[in-house]
């Protein structure tokens, strides 16, 4: 499993969202234990989905403006953008199975 790339700025996030039909962004923190447990779930599902889904993670403390913009109240929070628009979010831990179903519900992935 390859770790998600870390976003360095809001501008980078905007570029990624504009370029990718589907983008998953997870907000994490260095002390967030649940985030560490969520990581393998996200990495697996992102890998399975392949080119249909771009992905990245944000250190919520390092980029507070983006966190505020997207009303990130707790960590982890995972956002899904479709065609540049925020489509859905998951707060907290989710199994790989739950993530697959969530992506499918939002029109991303095999069978969508």
């Amino acid at each position: 499993m390859t770790p998600l790339a870390v976003l360095g700025s809001g501008a980078e996030m905007d570029r990624l969202a504009a370029a990718a039909p589907s983008l998953l962004v997870t907000f994490t923190g260095p002390k967030c234990i649940i985030c560490k447990r969520l990581a393998p779930m996200l990495e697996t599902v992102v890998r399975e989905t392949g080119d249909a889904l771009a992905s990245a993670k944000v250190d919520a403390e390092a980029l507070p403006d983006i966190s505020q913009k997207f009303e990130i109240r707790s960590l982890p929070t995972t956002l899904l953008f479709r065609n540049g628009v925020l489509a859905d979010r998951i707060t907290g831990f989710a199994t790989a199975g739950a993530l697959r179903a969530w992506l499918l519900k939002n029109g991303v992935g095999a069978g969508a």
């Binding site: 499993m1 390859t2 770790p3 649940i34 447990r37 969520l38 393998p40 779930m41 697996t44 399975e48 907290g92 831990f93 989710a94 199994t95 790989a96 199975g97 739950a98 697959r100």
Partner: protein, 209 residues
């Protein structure tokens, strides 16, 4: 030897006493393992535990109770422990439990499904698929489990005993992963290097991160 993913420090952090050198309580532990698993089959995990023989015996008997006295299939329990080993990045544990999962009747594709946390492709009953999801969720955030999560299991006829058996599977997997990881305990020769590529891949990812 140490974990495949730690090529820069290849030896375990504590001594692992070979079977033919064991004495006293350590030998008693090894003898019990060999009676259960076969001559020579003293895993490196329990060689590490033999530094504290009473704990080694207690944990081995706990493992035997879990695998031998529960009602859920060994295949299910090894699938959960394979998934946990992947989550905890213990390459020895992946190799051990993936081997045990295969010995419990899983195909290589089903082993891969366990490593990818996909219970629908492991060849489990619908009850065990639901319990697998519950196990992974409880491992991810135990305090995030709700009454609704448990009620969802009841639809599949899951009993209290099966819930406890599932959670103890998570507990046991995590406990052994921790010992192996923290002491850099590497895989047993008798595993034949199954899924060795997981540890090697993790080392590559660490270096490029």
């Amino acid at each position: 030897m140490g974990q495949w993913s730690r090529k820069d420090d290849p030896e375990p952090f504590i001594g692992l006493v070979p079977v033919d050198k064991a004495e006293g309580l350590r030998k008693a532990l090894y003898d019990e393992l060999e009676r259960a698993r076969g001559k020579g089959r003293v895993s490196n995990l329990f060689k590490a535990y033999s530094a504290f023989p009473a704990l080694g015996l207690a944990n081995f008997r706990r493992l035997m109770a879990l695998l031998g006295e529960g009602v859920l299939s060994v295949k299910f329990k090894e699938a959960v422990m394979t998934a946990l080993a992947e989550i905890n990045r213990c390459d020895y544990c992946v190799s051990f439990h993936a081997t045990a999962l295969r010995n419990a009747g899983a195909s290589d594709a089903e082993v891969d499904a366990a490593l990818n946390f996909d219970p629908s492709k492991i060849g489990l009953s619908s009850k065990e698929q639901a319990l697998f999801e519950y196990a992974i969720k409880a491992n991810g955030d135990p305090h995030g489990i709700t009454r609704q999560d448990v009620e969802a299991l009841r639809v599949h006829g899951v009993t209290d005993a099966e819930i406890v058996e599932t959670l103890e599977t998570v507990n046991t997997g995590n406990a052994f992963n921790l010992i192996n990881g923290a002491l850099n305990i590497g895989p047993d020769d008798f595993l034949g290097g199954y899924k060795k590529e997981r540890g090697e891949q993790w080392q590559v990812e660490e270096k490029t991160a």
